[in-house]
């Protein structure tokens, strides 16, 4: 945990410094968490909702934060859980069969006015969206965010070995998809 985070946590636990410390925390982590969430839910509006919910949850559970875990992995963990809960709630609301979730996310991507990638970038995102949920998370966190397996293990509650295997399978499937749809 870096020095700044320790200062933020110490201030968050003091009533008179809490507001300012929380503001610092939001400014420091909002972008990183936003992009993590955006890659899970795809759409900007949804990502905005989930990011707000994430920080509100953080605000509510500051007292539950245990200092042996790092602030960064704790925040990622809450953001990941909020994103997955959001997708599950959507699934329930629209009575979507499991297979159609990925189709729904691809449609979300197609209609997203804030997607500015070229054709090949779109194809890569499509390939990622066709992965099972866990592999998709692992691939995004490793490939784009370049997160260490040890940190990822804390965020996703999964062993490093299992994460490496997930990443291996994910890259293999993406490669196959990119080859097949050329």
């Amino acid at each position: 945990m870096d020095f700044d985070d320790r200062g933020i946590i110490a201030d968050l636990k003091q009533e008179n410094k809490r507001d300012l410390a929380f503001h610092t925390l939001v400014n420091k982590y909002q972008e990183r968490l936003y992009w993590h969430i955006r890659k899970i839910v795809m759409n900007h509006e949804d990502a905005d909702d989930v990011l707000q919910n994430t920080f509100i949850k953080v605000w509510r559970s500051i007292d539950k934060f245990r200092e042996e875990s790092s602030l960064y992995t704790w925040l990622y963990r809450i953001a990941t859980n909020e994103s997955i809960s959001f997708l599950n709630a959507n699934k329930r609301r629209s009575f979507m069969p499991l297979n159609d979730v990925n189709e729904y996310l691809v449609k979300n991507l197609e209609s997203d006015p804030y997607f500015e990638g070229d054709k090949i970038q779109f194809k890569l995102q499509e390939a990622i969206l066709r992965l099972p949920e866990k592999q998709r998370l692992v691939f995004n966190m490793k490939y784009f965010d370049e997160m260490k397996y040890e940190d990822m293990s804390k965020v996703l509650d999964t062993s490093v070995g299992a994460l490496k295997a997930s990443y291996f399978h994910a890259t293999k499937k993406i490669e196959e998809y990119l080859k097949s749809s050329d």
Binding site: H23, I56, G117
Partner: protein
């Protein structure tokens, strides 16, 4: 990384960049929007408890009046109605007959007034003929009991 390039040549061709964008000034405004939500959250926190009590108030009132009616009307009626008292007494008697000291218990089960009334009654001399005695013995006492009661 080299390993990745070898195994996934197609993926390696794609430039690693973020293809997504956000509306202008999104991150500048986000903090302020969130702050408003947090302020609202601070005010809302104690409300759920009160709201639940407010919602349950009529139900609690209704439940309390039912309990009161039960305590004042139904329960005394049920407990002190003559039929119920009689049933209660019967059950006591039945239980007590099972007891070894049935005589004593029988005396106890007679209420005080009737006990004194019995004492005040003039003692009548009981007279009966030999035939009456014999027929009483024949009908109520077995030969075995007579045998047991006879002193040799």
């Amino acid at each position: 990384m080299d390993n990745l390039r070898e195994n996934t040549p197609e993926l390696s061709k794609i430039k690693k960049e973020n293809p997504f964008r956000v509306p202008e000034n999104y991150f500048d405004d986000f903090s302020a929007r969130l702050q408003m939500k947090i302020e609202a959250e601070k005010k809302v926190v104690p409300a759920p408890k009160n709201r639940i009590i407010q919602m349950l108030k009529p139900a609690i009132g209704l439940a309390a009046s039912f309990v009161l009616i039960f305590m004042l009307v139904y329960w005394p009626l049920k407990t002190f109605s003559p039929k119920q008292v009689a049933e209660n007494n019967d059950s006591i008697v039945i239980e007590e007959y099972d007891n070894e000291n049935e005589y004593l218990n029988l005396l106890e089960s007679i209420d005080e007034n009737s006990f004194y009334a019995l004492l005040d009654e003039p003692v009548k001399s009981v007279e009966f003929s030999d035939e009456e005695l014999m027929s009483y013995i024949n009908t109520n006492i077995s030969e075995y009991e007579i045998y047991l009661g006879t002193d040799f």
